[in-house]
Structure formats: structure tokens, C-alpha cells
Symmetry: C2
Subunit: 404 residues, 2 copies
């Protein structure tokens, strides 16, 4: 099994000012290709820390990818550290940088600025090779030592992604499935293993059971044939409760199902504040079946936009089955859709009561056959309650369309 180590460089990552995402992105890609990611490390942007990182891993892994520290500012130390490690100087790769510059030739201001930071952005250690940047301006660099291939790339996510795609085409090639994900609805985590003991205990499969509250995600890894067997068995044991193959998420499942059935969907959101719509539109091409979402945070908006009745709000409150149903029906009506899902609840930290504690969320699903409401008491802080409410809402919407 080939191994990779993913390192991110930057004090902004160690200080919590930025969340590291490049290593996470690549980890999934390597994993799907059967590579082992041995470690993810976030290190400080000092020369000594970067050199220590190289000393730690060169000779011990097939691939080491560094991200960050290649920009033009005073805290960008990666290229200096690599040159020091290799015991060489830095030299400008003017040919590569001219290609980068060419991209802004019609914008005199940006051209002048990009030219002014040729040193350091074009500087490459003499004993390393240039990695061209097809999406940004700082050049990357690579070298091989003691059997370890080292690639250093800028930390800006879309530059990083463009450059790993360019340098590691084998990781991004379509291929047999060495990892399968099965998303299981309405089944507590604790009841999963007992239904598929032969998958869980299979000697050549590695199975992770991950709570993705309120769903559970089962990840099955191994050789393609064995993974296919394990995935098939799992899907049959949980028939009716698993999202279809190829659905990467509940949002994805909703869009696929809506396309298959030829229906349009919309939302009405209170406590999720737009996150259900955001989850659906995060997926390119969603516009062919998703019409929109009415985020109605105030009671006035629920009344005026969705037609929730004064009596409902007065007698049952906004967090109620009645309100959830009227919101879903209202969304279906104003967006002219076939199915609509609504959320209304108490995300916290304030607003909870004895009868409706923080985490109480009502969901409504309206469709051609009528409307239904379901309540869940979701655990966690404000962000977690909201995230879980999004997944639950989409799962309920998916079930309604699926069972049509």
C-alpha cells in the first residue's frame, strides 16, 4: 500500500484563524485509490519547523505534500526552508513565471503587482523542479529524496486543487471502487453492526460506522470485489432505509430522486436559516429541479410569504406540527413545486422552554398526496442542531419523493 503524508504550513491554521481543508480534500482522494494517509500535520510557518517536517518524513513515506507558505509576504517561508534542506540556493524560473504573468496582461494594475513579486513568487530551489500554477501566481516546487516524492504547493484551495490534479493524475483517474459509503436513515448507530455481522467482521474489509446525525454513514474499504459484496449485502439488509448508490449526501439523493421522478422541490426554512437551500444548491446542476427556499425567520414573514395562519401562530406557536405543515404547503404553493420541506425549531442557545427545549425541531413535508409533520429533539450546540436539522429535513424530503 502506497503511503502519503499531508502537511499544512501556517500560523493562521495553528491559531484557529483558518480551518485546514486541503489535507482533508486530498485524504479522501488518496483513500479512494487505496493509498494510506499516514498522518496529517499542521506545522508553524518557520524555517526550522518546515525543515524538521522534511527530516521527519523524507525516506519514510512515498509521498509528502506540503501546502502553504509560498505567497509573497513575510511569513511565507516554505521555499527558503526547502532550499536550506536541500542545501542549495534559489533561482527564478522566469519562463514559468512569464506564463503566469501572461494571464493578467490585460490588467495593467495586476500585471504590475504580479511582476513586482516575481521575487519571491518565481523562486525555486536549484535542486528542485518547478510545479506550474494553472490557477494562481505562486509557483510550486517538487523533488525526490530517499524514495520520497515531495511536492510543495500554495495553500489557496483552488490553486492547491488545480496543482494536485496536474501533478497526480493517477489519483484523480476514474477507477474501481475501493471504498463504498452507505448512508442509513432512521436506524440508531448501535443497531447497525448486529444486522451485518459478516460485513463488520470480514477479515479483508475495514468498516467504519460514523454518526452523521440523524443518519449513520457506513464506510466499507478493501479490495474492489470484497467492497462490492459488503456494500451489496448492507444495502439489501437495510432496504428502504439506505440512500441510493451514487448519492454522496442526502442533498444529492434528493436531487437524483427528483430528477428520476421528474418533480420539482422547494423549501421553507426557519431555524435552518437557508442551510437546506444552500445544501441543495451546493451541487452543480441543482437548478433543474430546485426552485428555491423561503427563509422566514420572523412570524410576519411566515404569514405574509408562506400564508401561515395567525391562528396557528397564536394557538400552537411557530415551533409546532401545524406551523411546519403550513410552511411546507406554503412553499409548495408559492414556488409551484411538487414537494416542499420545512423546518421550524429552536436552535439555541436561548429560546428553549420546558415543553420545547433547545434542539426541538418540527419538519413538514408537503407533496401531491398531502402533508405530514415529524418532530426531532436534536442534540448539540446551535451549529450542530442546525446541521442535523438540514440532514433530517432532506432525508424526510427524499423519503417522500422515493415512496411516491
Amino acid at each position: 500500500m502506497k503511503t502519503a503524508v499531508l502537511a499544512a504550513i501556517g500560523d493562521e491554521l495553528l491559531s484557529g484563524a483558518r480551518l485546514e481543508r486541503n489535507a482533508h480534500f486530498m485524504a479522501g482522494k488518496f483513500h479512494a485509490k487505496g493509498w494510506e494517509v499516514r498522518r496529517i500535520e499542521i506545522v508553524s510557518d518557520t524555517e526550522s519547523e518546515i525543515i524538521a517536517l522534511l527530516l521527519r518524513w523524507v525516506g519514510k513515506t512515498d509521498l509528502l505534500i506540503l501546502s502553504g507558505g509560498l505567497g509573497p509576504t513575510h511569513d511565507d517561508m516554505t521555499r527558503h526552508a526547502i532550499a536550506r534542506y536541500l542545501g542549495c540556493g534559489l533561482v527564478a524560473d522566469d519562463a514559468a513565471y512569464d506564463r503566469v504573468l501572461d494571464r493578467v496582461k490585460d490588467d495593467p494594475k495586476r500585471y504590475a503587482y504580479t511582476e513586482s513579486v516575481r521575487d519571491p513568487q518565481a523562486m525555486i530551489p536549484e535542486l528542485a523542479e518547478t510545479v506550474f500554477n494553472p490557477a494562481g501566481f505562486a509557483l510550486g516546487m517538487k523533488f525526490t529524496r530517499e524514495g520520497t516524492r515531495v511536492i510543495a504547493l500554495p495553500g489557496v484551495p483552488f490553486e492547491y486543487e488545480a496543482m494536485v490534479r496536474q501533478e497526480l493524475p493517477e489519483i484523480f483517474a476514474a477507477d474501481e471502487k475501493r471504498v463504498a459509503s452507505v448512508i442509513i436513515l432512521d436506524t440508531p448507530e448501535m443497531h447497525i453492526a448486529a444486522k451485518i455481522p459478516e460485513v463488520i467482521s470480514h477479515p479483508f474489509l475495514h468498516v467504519s460506522i460514523l454518526p452523521a446525525l440523524p443518519q449513520v454513514e457506513l464506510i466499507i474499504r478493501g479490495e474492489p470485489d470484497t467492497v462490492a459484496w459488503g456494500e451489496g449485502l448492507t444495502r439489501s439488509r437495510f432496504a428502504g432505509l439506505v440512500l441510493p448508490e451514487g448519492s454522496m449526501s442526502v442533498a444529492d439523493a434528493v436531487l437524483i430522486e427528483a430528477r428520476t421522478k421528474g418533480v420539482h422541490v422547494s423549501c421553507a426554512e426557519s431555524c435552518t436559516g437557508g442551510l437546506v437551500g444552500a445544501a441543495l444548491t451546493d451541487i452543480a446542476g441543482s437548478s433543474d429541479v430546485f426552485n428555491g427556499s423561503a427563509v422566514t425567520y420572523s412570524n410576519d414573514a411566515k404569514r405574509n410569504i408562506l400564508g401561515v395562519s395567525e391562528a396557528t401562530l397564536r394557538d400552537f406557536g411557530a415551533v409546532s406540527a401545524e406551523c411546519a405543515c403550513e410552511m411546507a404547503e406554503g412553499s409548495r404553493r408559492v414556488y409551484g413545486t411538487d414537494y416542499a420541506v420545512s423546518t421550524t425549531g429552536i436552535a439555541g442557545p436561548d429560546g428553549g422552554t420546558d415543553t420545547k427545549p433547545v434542539g426541538t425541531v418540527w419538519f413538514g413535508v408537503a407533496g401531491p398526496d398531502g402533508v405530514r409533520a415529524v418532530m426531532r429533539l436534536l442534540p448539540g450546540n446551535r451549529g450542530e442542531v442546525r446541521t442535523r436539522a438540514v440532514r433530517f429535513a432532506l432525508a424526510e424530503l427524499w423519503k417522500s419523493i422515493h415512496n411516491q
Copy 2:
């Protein structure tokens, strides 16, 4: 300076199935207290990797926090690894676990399950102390060796957070400011340093300039007095272009400004699909000034819900100044608000044209004094274009309210 190392344990993190957030959360907290986070590491959930982690850091840092691997399933190896490292056995802390059980005494099913996983969830290495779990069921553990305090906690974010708050009250106490963040609008990253050279080059300040496109975030760290001086000088040099003190984000700034001015706000979203509403409602208490957001993905929804005219959609298209203005005005009208911001653009990867390439986003801001539109060509992939459009929309909304 006290040092901490933050480690997360779990193959689901190394395989890209889950994004690590606990270390990121704590990194920000330590940083604000003047601690140095020396490293963030993500390691595999095998006994040998966890023991190697302990050997690597015990004696070399003041504090080491482990997260994950304490649940009841077969891949939860942390407690075994710690016992092996300490050279002792595991013993159940029944008293602590009984307190945990007490929480589900009214739910027979959950009670039975939680009791059935007493072993391993109550098991603590004999040479370690129990860390009570006030939010979940798996107990944590802690010990001190060679001057390093080691704390092992479950990986579930809200349990982790509850337990670090309980174990490290000094990190969560209110305190003098050792880190200041200044968010600067409408100023390219490259022009920042030249306007505040004495802050950038101050020997006792550490300054990071972070693109938070389309804004720039300046993070100033050091002793409280020096940080206050640096922040003050920066704020005066960029007067009118900085978000007010205490605003943690543009969404926060909008809510604070709206409260100060006594106005209500709403949105109309196309390409951001609900993310602007989600950003505002991510902040607790937003309901006092935020009424809602009309996510109108289809042209029909733009017409029917926001009253965008047929002629506008036909003559200029949905991605146009005219449509952005009508969307903002429509949102202000249907939500009965004082200010509304709209987004309509091409997030990609498809849908771009020569005149409206991917990344083209029009923003409209409507207020008591009329409506205006502004266009930006935002770089990045679909997710980045959307995220940047959210920040830009909120900044434009903030400016309109601020300059009222």
C-alpha cells in the same frame, strides 16, 4: 509561553470521510490566551500510532489533548493505548458512569444500551484519572507525565467542547486581548502592508494578512498593550473600510449595525442558494433584526415571489444589475424590512458565457434611499465563488446601513 499540541485520532479523518474541527476550535481558544499551539496532528486509530503520539510529545509540551477513539465500537483504541503506554490495566469508574446513566433513566431503550456498553465506555487506565462527560456517555481520562498534562476526550464536537470547558476553565475565562482581528473591505491584500508599515514590522507584534476574499483579515498578536496600539493604528489608517470592533465577521457586523440603527434586514438569493441567510442566522439572537431570505433559484420564483419583471429577465437575464436591484427591492417589500441585499450570478462549473463568465455575480442593495447594484468577478470553484459572494453581499449590506 505555554505550549499545547492538539491531536485527533481516527481513520475517518485520515480517509477524508470527516473534517477535523476540534483542534481548530481549541487552536483559536489557546491562541487568544497567548498559548502556542505547536502542532496539530491527525493520526490513525491504531494502538501503536496512539502510543507513538504519546512518546513523541510527553515531556516536550505543557499540554497534549487527544480527541477521539473513546466510543464503544471496535475501532475505539485510545483507552487501551493509554493503558499500554502507562503500563497499567483498565478499571471501570462505575460511580462516574452511573452519573452518566442517570441522564437516560427515563428512556428504557437508551438506558439498556448505555448500560450494555459500560465496558468499554466506563473503563479508565488505573494510572489515569476520569474526565467526566457532561454532554455524552463515553468518559474521558487524564494524567500528567514528565511535565506534560495529557487529556483524552471523545471526538464528538459538542462533548469535546463541554469537556475542555470543564477541564481548562482558564482557557475559557474572559481576559485581556492578546489577539486582534481587523476585517478590511475593498482593499487588495497587496496594498495593506504599505499603509501600516510600523505595525507590520513591529518587533513585538506578529501580524498575519489573510485573504478572506473579497475582504482581507489582519490578525495582530502580541502583548495586550501592543496589540491595542497596533489595532488602533490600523483602524484609523483604514477608517471607513474596517468592520467595527467586536465584529467577528461581516454577518456579525451587519447584525450589530442593524441593531444600533434599529433597522430590519432581509435577503434575496439566487447563486448563494440560502448561504447569506444561513450566515446571518448562524449567530444566536439574529431573529431580532433578520426577517428572512427569499431563495429564488428559478426565474419563475424570482418573478412570483420577488416581483422581478418578465421584461428584465428577458432583456437583461437573471444575472444582471437590473435583476439584482429588483430582487433586493422585492425582498425589502415582501419581508417588510428597511434594507435588503440580493445575489444573482454564475457559480459554475457550467453556465458561464464570454460576457458573463463563471464567477460573475451581481449584488443589489435596497434601502430607504433607493437601490444600487454592483458586480464582482469572483475567483475559485463553485464553493469558493458562493462563499465569497456571501461575504461580499454582507459587506455591501453593512456599508449601506453604516452610511445611513
